[in-house]
Symmetry: C2
Subunit: 246 residues, 2 copies
Amino acid sequence: MQRYFIEERFHEGTVTLTGDDARHITKVMRMREGEEIIVVECEETAHICAITAFNEHDVLVQQTGRTIPSPELPIDVTIACGLPKGDKLDLIVQKGTELGMYGILPFEAARSIVKWDAKKSAKKIERLQKIAKEAAEQSHRTHIPVVEQPVSFAQLVKKCAKYDVVFVADEEDAKVKERTRLVDKLKKIYDCKSILVIFGPEGGIARDEAEKLRAAGVITTSLGPRILRAETAPLYMLSAISYEFE
Amino acid sequence: MQRYFIEERFHEGTVTLTGDDARHITKVMRMREGEEIIVVECEETAHICAITAFNEHDVLVQQTGRTIPSPELPIDVTIACGLPKGDKLDLIVQKGTELGMYGILPFEAARSIVKWDAKKSAKKIERLQKIAKEAAEQSHRTHIPVVEQPVSFAQLVKKCAKYDVVFVADEEDAKVKERTRLVDKLKKIYDCKSILVIFGPEGGIARDEAEKLRAAGVITTSLGPRILRAETAPLYMLSAISYEFE
């Protein structure tokens, strides 16, 4: 069943779909009165609705009373990733959205090779936000992950205080024999509401960044004995969180 | 430290590297006598070795006695995936290798849109095998996943008997409210040595395929409440297995 996101509330069980959504229903899907769609209200509840009328450019729908159980992770997981090269951020946003990511916060890491200027940045964020929206629809989510503007490393450290727990995935930690197991760490945070997980760019987190994060109370964690690429590590973490908490 | 895979055994702690590996050491890395590299012997043990001599096109190395702990999953996990569209198999092979996959077996699923003819197939497998080798080196593995020739669905069903456990990821299962939890299934297979996990192409496993697999003793499993794309589902499964068993 096709799904549409609305930012307003239903009134007495009905709502009017406009713009792109209405066009999609009439021109692309060629739907008729009585057919059913899913309407996600304010990123909260997915209602199964029936089409009741077509106005000039709008489509009127009515709740059937049936809803779909939430597909969201029980903990909000935000991914902070050091700006990677090429189109790796596209992959992280798309796959991260499928895997339940709550939001993504790119940052300028010491080992980031690319720099985003303010002009480029706005365009890129818009593009990534579109990827997130499409992936959220495709994977049947009710929340569209927010793609934030890139921040400096210093700003990232400040933002850590906003979250219940902050982890940093540190490759150096994956190389040592006495590994700290991720499972032991996740088992301890069942009462948390929000997590931030920090990942380095290619080459990982720099040593002085790791030091500063540890000083700020961030917990270092390993993602197993294999070295994961910058774009694979967040997907591993989200899968592990889903596996543990869902 | 650079890593090289050899298919022969060390003799009295020494071995001669030839061909591409020798060329890489001398021309690309420009290494000298006494410098250290990692040599993986017969996909088993990663030995730290010192370069002892350069012959015309060959490089002689000697074990230092130090080895690197195995980065392999404790269970061999083979991924069977319905032939997907475009270059999605590239992504599955690359990321699957990073995440510890043991081998990959593509199959012609009812919903596979692409068909591989015999001529194309050999070339594609060669290319995928190269991706697996590079990803294995990059993620510090000792085993290079084997990319098998695509098989028919009937052949896939026959092959199931070779494995201790076989799972099929079934999207239909992800939609029901009473979900069967993957975690409950993985907890039961701690004594297994080999698993095959079957994934459909875009659109998932067809209903009659699911029936035939169930009849063959294959266990249906869900990968959480979100609908994952064909190329994302295997990565979720490998991450979950790593998280559970490592």
